[in-house]
């Protein structure tokens, strides 16, 4: 029996504020030279007081909490989380987490993983531990912290989930996906499930590597509750300290910041403007007769799901399941090959994409041709695609021509024909290949295969 890990995440994402203004001051968040966007507040000068928090950041955090199905707290309290670190000018971080906290959202879920809590906080400055240099441009950037329940059981599951989460949160315009995530990973293994927290895990691949390393380490070392740091260069985790508790941070309510009352008037407009969650999208696909597993896979990526839904409604004569499978297979595959994110779907020509799916569905395009043109679509070669679709449709062999090619192939490949009659699949494929070459990929391989079997 394999190792049974329990994995939980604390994910920090950068909140998308349209004004590009910091949480507690009006300094810009636009990238700039080091220490360009600073003021007495975000550099913690003696006597400075924070401005009231940025309204756009609160709207964004509420959207995240609603989208992740959380219960909302109606009174939000700012706290001071004290710790001494070179990147923290005040000596404390302003956060909605902590000992007396009321986080923005509680008890949510996303794609089958429980969400413990969601809260808003400020980012510290950027400190380079090697050079000792500190840049305060980032100090006061609004951050969301999403704490999951320890529901994950493998690193692969974590990676897929977190990628889908970030796609979804950038889609609802609440999180800046381009700025990446910072993650703390909690790992424990059976039978004791004594938790180790791994800090500084700042990329998707590092998350996977850190989890894999911890699972192996915990099998050989005595289990202890502790905090470790991920060391990217060595690919290992290193002991930092025994796990700190809430008392170590000396949380106190921040007297400079008022309690925020979350009212229905505030929440309802945000709720209405939210897109479907993955579970809602899945239900919609299933209502269009897409099988459950296909619908679930498609709904997990909100961008794929939204674009596929558009195509399903536009292509009335194409079964929704066919469209769903194109997204789950060919489109997903081409984007991976071309190393493009799901967002690339949004810059692709929608009409042409739908045309390709339609022509593939009515067998005007073969699977090979469909993939080839999808690749062209990713590169934006729209004129080339239009011409190619038109040429393929014009040169598409009719059934009679196709039968003639099949007969010709059987005569041209007599040895393959003998083997094919004996039931050898490779031989059938050789004959199919001959016909595909004759039709220059314009015919459908499955149709040819059927005709070959009929005429052997």
């Amino acid at each position: 029996m394999g190792v049974q890990p329990k994995i939980g995440l604390e994910i920090h994402g950068y909140i998308d504020v349209p004004s590009q203004v910091k949480l507690f001051c009006n300094c810009s968040l636009v990238p700039a030279e080091p220490n360009e966007n600073i003021c007495p507040i975000c550099t913690g000068q003696p006597g400075s007081k924070p401005m009231r928090p940025n309204k756009e950041a609160l709207d964004a955090i509420l959207k995240i909490a609603l989208f992740l199905n959380c219960q909302l707290n109606t009174e939000l309290l700012w706290q001071r989380k004290h710790y001494s670190w070179p990147d923290l000018p005040n000596g404390y971080q302003k956060t909605m987490s902590g000992a007396y906290s009321k986080p923005v959202g509680l008890n949510g879920n996303f794609l089958g993983i429980g969400i413990e809590e969601i809260h808003l906080e400020e980012d510290p400055a950027r400190w380079d531990p090697v050079s000792g240099g500190v840049d305060y441009n980032r100090s006061g950037f609004p951050l969301v912290e999403i704490v999951t329940k320890p529901d994950f059981t493998s690193s692969a599951q974590v990676r897929e989930w977190i990628e889908n989460l970030m796609v979804a949160l950038s889609y609802v315009k609440a999180v800046r996906r381009d700025l990446g995530v910072k993650c703390d990973v909690n790992v424990s293994i059976a039978p004791h499930f004594i938790r180790t927290e791994v800090k500084n895990v700042n990329s998707f691949s590092a998350i996977v590597d850190a989890i894999e390393y911890e699972i192996k380490r915990q099998q050989t070392e005595e289990p202890k509750q502790q905090t470790r740091a991920w060391d990217e260069s060595s690919g290992t985790t290193k002991f930092m300290r025994s796990k700190e508790t809430a008392q170590d941070y000396q949380f106190i309510p921040d007297p400079d910041l008022p309690v925020i009352h979350v009212t229905n008037e505030l929440v309802e407009p945000l709720k209405i403007a939210l897109p479907d969650r993955p579970d809602q999208k899945q239900a919609k696909f299933e209502a269009l007769k897409v099988p459950g597993d296909v619908a679930q896979k498609l709904a997990a990526n909100l961008l794929f799901a939204s674009e596929a839904e558009k195509d399903m409604h536009a292509l009335k004569n194409v079964p929704a399941e066919f469209v769903a499978n194109r997204y789950n297979n060919e489109i997903r595959g081409i984007l991976a090959i071309e190393q493009k994110d799901a967002e690339h779907l949004l810059v692709m020509d929608t009409v042409l994409r739908q045309l390709l799916i339609e022509k593939f569905a009515d067998r005007t395009l073969s699977n090979i041709k469909f993939k080839e043109l999808l690749s062209d679509l990713v590169h934006g070669d729209v004129d080339l695609i239009r011409k190619s679709v038109a040429d393929t449709a014009a040169s598409k062999p009719d059934d009679e021509a196709l039968i003639a090619y099949v007969k010709e192939a059987i005569l041209a490949r007599p040895e393959a024909a003998v083997d094919a009659r004996a039931g050898k699949e490779k031989a059938i494929n050789a004959i199919v290949g001959y016909v595909m070459a004759k039709t220059k990929g314009g015919a459908d391989a499955a149709v040819i295969q059927k005709l070959v079997r009929e005429h052997l």
Partner: protein, 73 residues
Amino acid sequence: MNREEIEKQAKTIMDSFLKELATIEETHTFGLEREQSMREPKHEPSSETFKRAFFANAPKVKDNLIQMERKQW
């Protein structure tokens, strides 16, 4: 004026003040409504005067970065 008279006058003043104070309607509540507890963000350029003072007061600056301790523990 002796001590007793001063205390008597002070009591009269305080009583009168407390009487007036009691007539004021209590308006304070704990916590503020959202419109008062949040702000509409408005971009403001950083003050060049502040930045000059900030860098001048820093113990050490290199490439516009404030030099703090290095990780040596």
